[in-house]
């Protein structure tokens, strides 16, 4: 299925097909690789044991409220969870064809973040470190970022009436900036989470697949999904078995909306031309019709003048009567209307 041909928008107005194609092509030839040396995390789900140490560490580092059930209560894993406004990361348990598997969920810090692309107040920033962070101070609370995120990550403090905000993993941006590890990575006892430069992590992941061909499926999830993510995954089972969609495609959010955005200036550029054109044509038609009518009357008059006087006077009378009638109709209409609206007129 080819759903993501964002050039498909061309039809927005049949007229501008060529113009838009040119536009999109120019954007398409420009290629962006993301910040060089940006960081990422490789999550090897075959190593994850579901101990929830990462959840606990995340909670502490980000000073989130303590959960109802403690982090060493592993019964929590029995129900599938997602990130919420009080948990930037959660670990889920999956029954797979290769037995129980666990997977940590958090913001994947896309290379081309959909949330940032969707935000109409630039509240999200892709940092050179690789993290995607959120600035509460400009957020209006439209929640389009939540609609846009393919991974269903951003959460919202729905119960806050005054200062509701988006809550989402920051990849521990303050810690990375200090040269430290993100809280969850630091806490992982098995290095199921490997922190490093994304380019290196891709190599590490490839190496692991090469060394243990039986242990891994031959895919680095997040290498290309949604244009690539800073968090990448190695799985022992096909990704849907551990709750990761394999139908996200590789087009990034700005690519998906680029076509629609590209048509906007074309509308502004061409609609006035088209509409004034139509206006001018219809205007001109009116003018010609009027002119013809006038000429017809004149011609009739001229012809009549050459004719017999009787005929002339008859024609003149007829024309007069017509004129009179028209005036009468107009006057009558005005009188009728003013009669209908005595109150309004009075006020005026």
């Amino acid at each position: 299925m080819q759903r993501r041909k964002f050039l498909g928008l061309l039809g927005a107005a049949g007229l501008m097909t060529t113009a838009v194609a040119g536009q999109a092509q120019a954007a398409g030839s420009k290629h962006f690789e993301g910040y060089p040396d940006s960081f990422g995390v490789l999550h090897d789900t075959t190593r994850c044991i579901g101990c929830r140490k990462c959840e606990a560490a995340c909670n502490t580092v980000n000073k989130l409220p303590k959960p109802d059930k403690p982090f060493d209560d592993l019964k929590v894993l029995e129900t599938e969870r997602r990130t919420t406004d009080t948990a930037y990361t959660v670990v889920n348990k999956y029954e797979t064809s290769k037995g129980l598997k666990f997977r940590k969920i958090q913001c994947n810090h896309c290379l081309e973040p959909a949330c940032a692309s969707a935000c109409f107040v630039k509240a999200f920033t892709k940092n050179p470190t690789g993290s995607v962070t959120y600035d509460e101070s400009v957020c209006v609370g439209c929640r389009y970022c939540m609609v846009a995120c393919s991974f269903n990550i951003p959460a919202y403090t729905y119960n806050d009436p005054i200062t509701p905000k988006i809550m989402k993993c920051t990849m521990c941006q303050p810690l990375i900036a200090e040269g430290k590890l993100p809280g969850c990575v630091e806490a992982c006892p098995k290095e199921a989470l490997t922190f490093g430069k994304r380019v290196d992590l891709i190599k590490v992941a490839r190496e692991r697949i090469r060394q243990y061909p039986d242990r891994y499926v031959d895919q680095i999830y997040g290498e290309r999904e949604m244009g690539g993510t800073a968090w990448i995954y190695l799985n022992g089972v096909p990704s849907p078995e551990v709750g990761m969609r394999d139908d996200l495609g590789v087009a990034s959010a700005p690519e998906l909306t680029g076509g629609a955005l590209a048509t906007v200036p074309m509308i502004v550029g061409l609609w006035p031309v088209l509409l004034t054109g139509i206006y001018a044509v219809s205007k001109r038609k009116d003018k010609i019709a009027k002119e013809e009518k006038r000429q017809a009357v004149t011609a009739a008059l001229t012809k009549a003048a050459a004719d017999a006087e009787v005929k002339l006077s008859a024609a003149l009378t007829k024309a007069e009567v017509e004129n009179k009638k028209q005036i009468e109709v107009a006057v009558k209409k005005a009188v009728e209307e003013s009669a209908k609206q005595p109150k309004t007129e009075g006020e005026a």
Partner: protein
């Protein structure tokens, strides 16, 4: 749920079928025929040598209409007869789609039969199956045969017995007759036709003679139930094939020497492998597990050094070393390593080939006898036998050499130091290796240490883990975990691979107690 479904689509050879193939239940008809007091000949004709044809009521296919008529006339005739007796009978003329059912409801539970070593030995040792000719001691020739192109007859060639499938393929080849050729080419029958003709007719004959015989009905061989009931010999005698070697010297073909000092003769391309054929016979069910295409030497026609069409261009080295193939030495051994008893060491660390591991098979140095000359088969076997006998048995480490307890220090502030029952674990691992011939050949004293102390040279005093595993995520060594993860990966990985669920991965305090605050 039947094992006796025969799809009758004989008309296929004449072009597109007009109706769906007939789903024919063979056993059901066998029973009905027997009940009517008839035998196989009611449906199958005998040829001049009194052998039953596998096709229905004919020896040779005629025209399309003829064959069609044979089926319709004979089927209907019998069905009508049965019906006349007032019994339940099959469809007759006009009820086309009762037989030609495009969506039959019957589910097939048919299973292929494997003539494994036990079953083979039971046939070879059977008193009812007599040798093919008085000149032979054994009865191999009753089944195994070769084909004589001149006489167009099969004959028994002693010492050349091979798997039926070598010639009788799953689907028989179509004969290639060049224009102008009138000679009728004989193509070996497909394996199903060949085996039914051979096995079932023999079983049938013996059954008629009221002797101990194998099954004759479909369900007798082709269901899981019946296969489970097949008697398995406890002690399986070796096959009696002439020239079956005890040991073989596996070596790449001879090449002219490259080095100056050896001027005369040819040399082996690589150091040869002394292969214990006798032991390997006992660990595999059939000969074709290894000899999958022919009984001869692998490198003779198929897996040559440069590859050959017969071997689908799989080179000799690949044929022996392919990880993924169960026919290769390495592939089969890798499966053995996946045994939970072995997997703790073998499946946790990445697989690595080293010079030492090559030398485990390929004798080093090259045996003196094999140098600079081409050897006969007997000479090779003798060398191999000698090499196998010379193998030293593995001497396990003495208990005293194994530290009893190892304390893992510097565990995160949340927990106490971990006390690791080192000796207990080593002993447990050693126990799993006992009495295993494969283990004995491929392991030495320190192999068991290397399972965990993986990168260091084999010794009684390997370096501490932390000397390599330091801080995690060192960009210089991206594949080397930090010390905490190294321990957890090693311990948990081994427990998981050896199917030892205790302690659970998340039972932190069972290895290191929680620190009191």
């Amino acid at each position: 749920m039947r094992a006796d479904i025969v799809k009758i689509d004989a008309m296929k050879v004449y072009g597109k079928l007009e109706l769906a193939p007939v789903t024919f239940l063979h056993d059901k008809h066998t029973d009905a025929v027997a009940k009517a007091g008839k035998d196989c000949k009611a449906c199958h004709k005998e040829d001049e040598s009194k052998r039953l044809s596998l096709t229905f009521m004919r020896l040779k296919d005629g025209s399309r209409e003829e064959v069609k008529e044979i089926y319709h006339a004979n089927c209907f005739k019998c069905h009508k007869e049965v019906k006349a007796k007032g019994e339940k009978a099959g469809p007759v003329d006009g009820e086309c789609r009762l037989c030609h059912d495009a969506k039959p409801k019957t589910v097939s539970v048919w299973k292929p039969v494997v003539l494994d070593r036990s079953l083979h030995a039971r046939h070879a040792g059977s008193k009812e199956i007599k040798p093919a000719d008085v000149q032979y001691k054994d009865n191999c020739g009753r089944c195994h045969h070769e084909f004589d192109e001149k006489t167009k007859k099969t004959f028994y060639a002693e010492g050349k017995e091979g798997n039926c499938g070598y010639c009788h393929l799953t689907q028989a080849k179509t004969p290639v007759v060049k224009p102008g050729e009138t000679v009728e080419k004989t193509i070996p029958r497909a394996i199903d036709a060949a085996s039914h003709a051979a096995c079932v007719s023999c079983h049938l004959a013996l059954t008629l003679e009221k002797k101990d015989a194998g099954p004759v009905k479909c369900a007798g061989c082709h269901t899981a139930d019946s296969q489970a009931k097949i008697k398995v010999l406890k002690e399986i005698p070796r096959m009696k094939r002439k020239g079956l070697p005890d040991a073989a010297l596996l070596a790449a073909p001879y090449l002219a020497p490259m080095k100056e000092p050896i001027k005369e003769g040819k040399v082996l391309a690589v150091n040869p492998v002394a292969f214990n054929h006798k032991v390997h016979e006992t660990v595999s069910d059939t000969c074709i597990a290894c000899h999958h295409g022919a009984m001869e030497s692998c490198s003779k026609r198929c897996h040559t050094l440069s590859g050959a069409k017969e071997g689908q261009f799989v080179l000799l080295d690949q044929a022996m070393h392919q990880q993924k193939s169960m026919r290769s030495c390495v592939g089969c051994h890798a499966v053995k390593q996946a045994d939970p008893k072995c997997a703790g060491c073998h499946k946790v660390m990445p697989q690595r080939s080293s010079e030492a591991s090559c030398a485990k098979c390929h004798a080093k140095p090259m045996p003196e006898e094999a140098k600079g000359q081409e050897l006969t088969l007997e000479q090779k076997q003798a060398i191999a036998t000698k090499m196998i006998e010379a193998r030293e048995p593995m001497v396990p480490l003495t208990v005293e050499d194994i530290p009893e307890k190892v304390v893992v220090k510097g565990v995160a502030d949340q927990y106490e130091n971990a006390e690791f029952p080192h000796r207990k674990i080593v002993m447990k691992l050693t126990e799993g290796m006992k009495d295993n011939k494969l283990v004995a050949v491929f392991h030495d004293q320190y192999s068991i240490c290397v399972g965990c102390h993986h990168m260091s040279p084999a010794s009684k005093t390997p370096p501490r883990c932390a000397s390599c595993h330091g801080k995690p995520f060192n960009p210089e060594t991206p594949n080397r975990p930090g010390v905490k993860a190294a321990f957890h990966q090693q311990c948990m990985g081994c427990h998981q691979k050896m199917k030892n669920p205790k302690p659970a991965d998340t039972a932190c305090v069972e290895c290191h107690k929680e620190k009191k605050k």
